[in-house]
């Protein structure tokens, strides 16, 4: 199943909607009847305490998990089951909580790998890097260089990512996701394990991506300060259920959210 290529969705309209989705692993209910939508052009955050089902939700969105119940509509197309590569083809890219890069490959090659789906010349040409393959590679390389410039990682272009500090690896991972020119970018804890300066940098890049490319972003984050500054709208999950949904200010004032984070006397 492929999403229609001519996207008629304008900024502010619903890009993706999740309706009544439930996911369980055996007896464990990870997500229970959650519904929300993501509008085109916004930064949407999913927050919640540990084990609230945030990453599961992200995995449902990009087709890695298949919910037992509920429906997901992406770019106006309803679907129940979808494989991750369909999601990628449809314009959903993601980064992972623990960096998942090709460690012995350079930054450049890692980001180039993100272009694979966009390469159309056949294996024969690619083998010889000749004719259409060469033209195509130059085109893709240009795009990749734009991303390298955008993320200011020129100095590590030819360094194997395994040798890079963690903050930079995260940035390379973001670069690889951007190489797909996604319509929806899913970021799983982009700032986990970073120091304050790295966090500030990453925030800047996320805002810039949203601003510059108009990419819709859904992110999971632990750091409340970051989320409240970054996101347009926030969903709060707790024990697999949605307990709040709204602007950062609304969510901050929500009683259920405060209870979930600070705990209540039962």
């Amino acid at each position: 199943m492929r999403a229609p290529d001519d996207t008629t969705i304008k900024a502010g309209q619903t890009l993706l909607s999740v309706e009544n989705v439930s996911l369980s692993f055996g007896g464990v209910k990870a997500i229970r009847g959650v519904s929300f939508d993501i509008k085109k052009g916004e930064i949407r955050a999913i927050i919640g305490p540990n084990g609230a089902g945030k990453t599961s939700m992200l995995n449902v969105i990009n087709g890695f998990y298949h919910p037992q119940e509920g429906q997901i509509t992406f770019k106006g197309v309803k679907r129940k089951k979808m494989r991750p590569n369909d999601a990628a083809n449809g314009g959903i890219a993601r980064t992972f909580q623990n960096v998942a890069l090709f460690r012995s490959m350079t930054t450049l090659d890692n980001i180039m790998a993100g272009r694979t789906l966009k390469m159309h010349s056949n294996f024969f040409w690619q083998l010889w890097r000749y004719g259409p393959a060469e033209r195509e590679e130059i085109e893709h390389r240009h795009k990749v260089e734009e991303i390298i410039d955008f993320l200011e990682i020129e100095h590590i272009r030819r360094v194997p990512v395994g040798r890079l500090p963690y903050g930079l690896q995260k940035r390379v991972e973001l670069g690889r996701a951007l190489a797909m020119e996604p319509e929806l970018l899913l970021l799983d804890e982009p700032m986990a394990g970073m120091n304050l300066e790295e966090k500030e940098d990453m925030c800047r890049y996320i805002i810039d991506v949203n601003n510059h490319f108009g990419t819709t972003i859904a992110l999971i984050e632990h750091d409340m300060g970051v989320v409240m500054d970054l996101a347009n709208r926030v969903i709060v999950l707790d024990y697999g259920q949605k307990i709040a949904d709204g602007t950062p200010d609304e969510v901050k004032a929500n009683k259920a959210v405060i209870d979930a984070y600070l705990g209540v006397a039962h």
Binding site: E145, F150, E152, E154, H155, R157, N211
Partner: protein
């Protein structure tokens, strides 16, 4: 001295631009690495770009005499902004891009800048944050549009838009050679640029340089080192610094050589390597870093490579400089050096981007003789110069073949130098500044009516070589009771060039003789101790070890010997020294945060030791408070030995140089 056939009527940089576009229009003028590829603009193209920008600025309201601030790292468009501003009679004021908003505010206010041309969002934000204090600024122009799309664009303009405005004006308001006529109106005696000195003390001062000063200095410098249009330089030092202004802008326009702008500040080493600069300039720390990087990498190299590297390095140390200086060298040594060039020196120079370098300069502060000789032994023609903003850089420089690690060279072409009684260096040249902007009193303090400028540095002419040596800031230079000049930093630096000595503090002002307190370098002395079976439990114990004292005593002795050969410095030899029982530390206030020793503070803090140095005692007991790294306080007691050292009679009689 001027280059052959330079037309005297070409006396401003925009005029040089027109000449370059005409006689070497197809040669590369400037390059920038963008999206991983070097983009080149020829002189003819640069002329067109500058023209569009200049007329665009004119349309934004820049009049003759208006100041245009330029803030950012080295980018072609920012260099063009300089020429564009100058071409319509404006005065560019480059500002340090890493200045915080407050510092920037002072400079922009003081200069009364009308337009600020900045590199990116970071600088736009900075200027906008202080815009209330800057009523004179009418427009803000930026080079890099990223992140700025949603900003209010009433006073904000993308540089390409400004050029579009200029191109439109070319067709309507300023057709034909209107721009060339504007350029012709400029003359050599106009102010070309105002450069704010970073000002370690007090507010920065705006140094005004005329076209004549900058042009003549550049011409002299180009002919001094035979620079031609074929040179390649890399521009990476701050544009607001006079060095960059002369090397990457003025000399390039005069000689017609190519300036290369790196991709980002982090990629300079790689970019320099790709370009293969032929004329280089860097402060000592750049050379130091490259060397350290090499040594660290070589430690990880395989056995064969490691052995080969050190074998040939030893050979180079012995013969390399002689070969570079064209001295007679035996054939065998020459052949081995040639082999080394293929196996070691060549690849090393390639790594550094020095393969094609003809002349490389270091300046700004003292460079370690070891580092200096390392590069020279590889065949890199590294030289030293001494310069100031107020002199359009050049005061002295080392001519080819007369290179010494501890001098700054002979007076540059057309420069006169004299030394005041207090040791201060005074200079006079065509490159001398016109004055400090809006500060005639300060100008009068620094510059005599007959054109001599007080450098603020103390120095002397070395009797052996006839070269100038800079010893210290003039205000730090004192005198012994017998009237001998005492330059603490000069003595301390000589000591600190020994790897075993980490810090040195010299005393002597208003005293009978010179004494020093030393700090050993724990890494270096520690590894020596390991090799020589010297057992120690702490820094304090190692510092007090008799063999360590003996070793440092030899160092002090060598320093005395070298001082005795240096004319006016001969009287200031070290009579007594001690090794401090603790490391000097910024946390205890003994060093500044930039790691400079605070002599007065140290003398007070270790008063018993300071007293002991002058009352002849052999040992002194002392208890000192100290702060541990985690913030706890404690005390440390020690019995510190004081040793006498030999001094030498002055060697050669002082020569009246220059």
């Amino acid at each position: 001295m001027a280059q052959d056939a330079i037309d005297k009527s070409v006396d401003t940089f925009p005029k040089f631009l027109l000449v370059n576009a005409k006689i070497r229009g197809d040669r590369p003028a400037i390059r920038e690495k963008d999206l991983g590829i070097w983009q080149t603009w020829t002189w003819a193209q640069v002329k067109e770009e500058v023209k569009a920008l200049a007329l665009g600025l004119k349309e934004l309201g820049v009049e003759r005499g208006d100041k245009v601030a330029i803030i950012g790292s080295n980018k072609p468009r920012l260099y063009w902004s300089m020429a564009a501003t100058q071409s319509i009679g404006g005065i560019p004021v480059p500002v340090y891009q890493d200045a915080v908003a407050d510092e920037m505010s002072y400079v922009l206010q003081h200069a009364g800048a009308k337009i600020a041309i900045v590199e990116n969002q970071e600088q736009v934000d900075k200027v906008l944050s202080i815009s209330e204090q800057l009523p004179s600024i009418t427009h803000l122009v930026y080079d890099e549009p990223r992140g700025l799309r949603d900003y209010d664009h009433t006073r904000l303009k993308w540089i390409n838009e400004v050029q579009d405005i200029g191109r439109k004006a070319m067709e309507t308001k300023y057709p034909g050679d209107a721009w060339e006529k504007m350029i012709a109106e400029g003359k050599g005696s106009d102010i070309a640029v105002i450069l704010y000195t970073s000002g370690t003390t007090g507010k920065p001062k705006g140094v005004m340089l005329t076209y004549d000063s900058v042009v003549i200095s550049s011409q002299n410098a180009n002919s001094f080192d035979n620079l031609t249009e074929k040179e390649e330089v890399i521009a990476y030092l701050p544009m607001a610094w006079v060095g960059d202004h002369i090397f990457s802008y003025a000399q390039s326009y005069v000689a017609g050589y190519t300036v290369n702008c790196p991709e980002s500040p982090e990629t300079i080493i790689e970019d320099r390597r790709e370009i293969g600069t032929s004329y280089a300039f860097a402060p000592p720390r750049v050379y130091e870093n490259l060397l350290t990087l090499t040594m660290v990498r070589m430690e990880d190299a395989g056995r064969v490579k490691h052995a080969m590297f050190h074998y040939f390095l030893k050979h180079a140390r012995k013969w390399g400089e002689k070969i570079l200086n064209k001295e007679p060298v035996p054939l065998g040594a020459r052949l081995l050096y040639w082999l080394g060039e293929i196996l070691v020196y060549g690849p090393m120079k390639n790594r550094y981007g020095f393969t094609r370098v003809r002349v490389a300069y270091t300046a700004g502060e003292a460079i370690g003789p070891e580092i200096f000789r390392y590069y020279r032994s590889l065949g890199v023609n590294l030289k030293q110069l001494y310069g100031q903003t107020e002199a359009s850089v050049y005061i002295t420089a080392q001519p080819d073949g007369e290179i010494y690690a501890d001098t700054v060279g002979k007076p540059s072409p057309d420069v006169e130098i004299k030394i005041e009684d207090n040791g201060e260096v005074l200079f006079r040249s065509p490159g001398v500044f016109a004055g400090y902007y809006k500060e005639p009193e300060k100008t009068a303090e620094a510059k005599t009516p007959d054109g001599w400028v007080k450098s603020g540095d103390a120095g002397f002419f070395d009797p052996k070589t006839g070269h100038l040596k800079i010893i210290d800031r003039a205000k730090d230079v004192g005198r012994l009771n017998d009237g001998t000049l005492f330059a603490p930093k000069y003595i301390e630096n000589k000591l600190k060039f020994y790897p075993n000595i980490k810090e040195a503090v010299a005393f002597g002002d208003k005293r009978d003789y010179v004494t020093v307190m030393l700090n050993i370098d724990l890494v270096s002395v520690g590894s020596w101790a390991e090799r020589n079976n010297v057992i120690y439990g702490s820094y304090q114990e190692l510092a007090a070890h008799p063999r360590v004292y003996q070793m440092l005593s030899e160092h002090v002795d060598e320093v005395n010997k070298s001082l005795s050969e240096e004319g006016p410095m001969a009287g200031a030899q070290i009579k007594r020294f001690l090794i401090l029982h603790k490391e000097l530390d910024a946390d205890d206030g003994e060093l500044t945060r930039t790691q400079k020793v605070r002599r007065g503070f140290i003398a007070d803090r270790y008063a018993p030791l300071a007293k002991g140095l002058y009352d002849g005692s052999k040992e002194v007991d002392i208890t000192t408070d100290l702060t541990f790294e985690d913030g706890r306080k404690g005390t440390i007691s020690a019995r510190v030995k004081i040793e006498d050292t030999k001094t030498y009679a002055p060697a050669a009689p002082m020569d009246k140089a220059a």
